[in-house]
Symmetry: C2
């Protein structure tokens, strides 16, 4: 049985919401949001009411908030900020969703959410792991780490895997998955503290502080035969440097672009097509929501490794919904230690 | 039986060679080469002597001549320029290579070449097509067009395929292969004449002169649902523009970088990683020499289409070895019409 943070049921009283008030051009800032309170909505046929327990904070929220081309429609101004959350069903007029069930899905930054089937990302088995895990290790972060690495990175035992944002919610798992698959992992992160954590907790063989290291030289020494898989969450100059250290036939998994703070106006960098050609790279973009059919397999494997002690994860949980507006910016500043969540259960 | 340019055998007298005299930084120019004459070499055990008939001129020779990182060692200064050629074996001390046989391989810009097994790219069946075809349509150009498009471009019937260097030795075949596979083809080329040829001879549904067209607008109109496959031989601004018109899940085949005249110092351009991510692109480099086991399949399919009238090809053949030194530069200037060859049979 799950022993963590299972909320006692209580009758809904009010619905606190974090609304997107302004359209951010770069990283969303605290003052792009407004806190508001609304009545708790009532489900109609086919809907159910979720009471959120853990609100997730994710780098991808930057893209969801912006108006620029992305893989999803931008969040409407004045609406609750789009977010993933772990919650419990407190009322249901949906045939196959039961009151009391725990779900992970598109429930946004608010206390209560009216939802339909299409808002569910996964149904939670609370016996498998602590509830918070389903928003991180067994949510988009872990499933992204696993599926992006295995399907696009195609690591072979003995490969060298480079990970940017090595100590982040995704990167901290990529190295451990790579290790479990027989690969070497090299990490890049933004502080000496995180370098130490990466090596001590996340099974990196080597890690560097990209703010102070000579990255070109570090990668030449760390991967003398070249990098086979680059799991990139940053883009920018880190990408340009790493791309020139790839082994022939190397795979780049483009999972995020955290190092580039704005795309308007379009930033420039080194031309990379000759590297793609001469090194015969395979450079692929990964968006987790394209891969829903593979979630159960990924969650199953991750949960087994967790039980076997082969995965360590960290969470950075605060308990005030008022912390949400500044939380995306803090992620991009690298202030979090592990998966950033807000507990409002 | 082959009815084209089968040379009468004659005893070797002298070996004219086009030597690489200077190391080019950008596109090799005529004065980077020197013509010289050497004695015809004599094969020793395991070797054979090839008399070249068609010398091939290929954009890839730029990379072979340069010292910068490439997929092969740079040509040594003072050596015959590395080149592919179609030739006939005139003497053999190799168990499985027979005098009289026609071969396509690494025989360089010269009359005669001492070669070993590893220098053979394909053994020629002269009944299948004219000899010259084996240096183009059934040589690296055609096999590249076929294998790069099918293995990395993964075209589905109904897809829109964009090709840069639409009228070149590779591009002119990509469109026809795409058409044979049920796709639409859009071509980019460097003159209005070539636009006309692309549509009339190479089965492009639409073609544009990239020197005069508004490329962004042209591609928006030509591919309103996005480009599924971009077969890119140019790189540079054409790539940056086309990449922003790719459909979600689109594939970019990086086959050449003809639009970028030098890589020293490293040129800059638009950052493309966000496009790779949000459009979930798959951007892959292709070098034909990685794919030798698939040559027979490719040659078989191309030769069938040729017999069925489903492939048109053009050749631009001169008959003087003295034309070789300026020929690479002329390719990059787009002066050729079809596959550029030098007949010295």
């Amino acid at each position: 049985m799950n022993q963590h943070h299972v909320p006692a049921f209580s009758l809904p009283t009010q619905n606190r919401q974090v609304l997107l008030a302004k359209r951010p051009v770069a990283i969303p800032q605290a003052d792009d949001f407004e806190l508001d309170t609304a009545a708790v909505p009532v489900p109609v046929n086919g809907e159910f009411l979720v009471r959120n327990i853990y609100l997730s904070v994710d780098p991808a929220q930057r893209g969801w908030a912006q108006s620029a081309m992305n893989y999803s429609e931008p969040v409407e101004l004045g609406s609750p900020m789009r977010a993933l959350a772990v919650g419990q069903v407190v009322d249901s007029l949906h045939d196959s969703v039961q009151k009391g069930e725990y779900l992970y899905g598109w429930f946004n930054w608010q206390d209560y959410c009216i939802a339909r089937s299409e808002h569910i990302l996964s149904r939670i088995d609370p016996g498998l792991a602590p509830l918070s895990c389903f928003a991180g290790l067994l949510g988009i972060n872990g499933v992204t780490a696993y599926l992006a690495l295995t399907s696009l990175g195609r690591p072979q035992a003995g490969d060298t895997v480079l990970v940017s944002t090595a100590a982040g919610a995704v990167g901290s798992l990529v190295s451990q998955i790579a290790h479990n698959l027989g690969c070497r992992a090299i990490g890049l992160t933004g502080s000496d503290d995180k370098v130490a954590v990466a090596i001590e907790r996340y099974h990196y063989d080597l890690a560097y502080n990209y703010r102070t290291a000579d990255l070109d030289q570090a990668l030449t020494e760390a991967a003398p035969d070249g990098i086979n898989v680059f799991f990139d969450n940053t883009g920018g100059e880190i990408l340009d440097t790493a791309l020139r250290k790839m082994a022939v036939g190397g795979r780049i998994v483009q999972c995020g672009t955290a190092a580039v703070s704005t795309w308007q106006p379009p930033p420039t960098g080194l031309r990379n097509e000759r590297e793609v050609l001469t090194r015969r790279l395979s450079w692929n973009g990964f968006v987790i929501f394209d891969h829903m059919p593979k979630w159960p397999e990924a969650i199953g494997t991750l949960a087994s490794w967790l039980r076997e002690g082969k995965l360590h994860y960290d969470e950075d949980i605060s308990e005030r919904i008022e912390d949400a507006p500044s939380a995306i910016d803090e992620l991009y500043l690298g202030k979090n230690r592990g998966k950033r969540l807000i507990y409002i259960g």
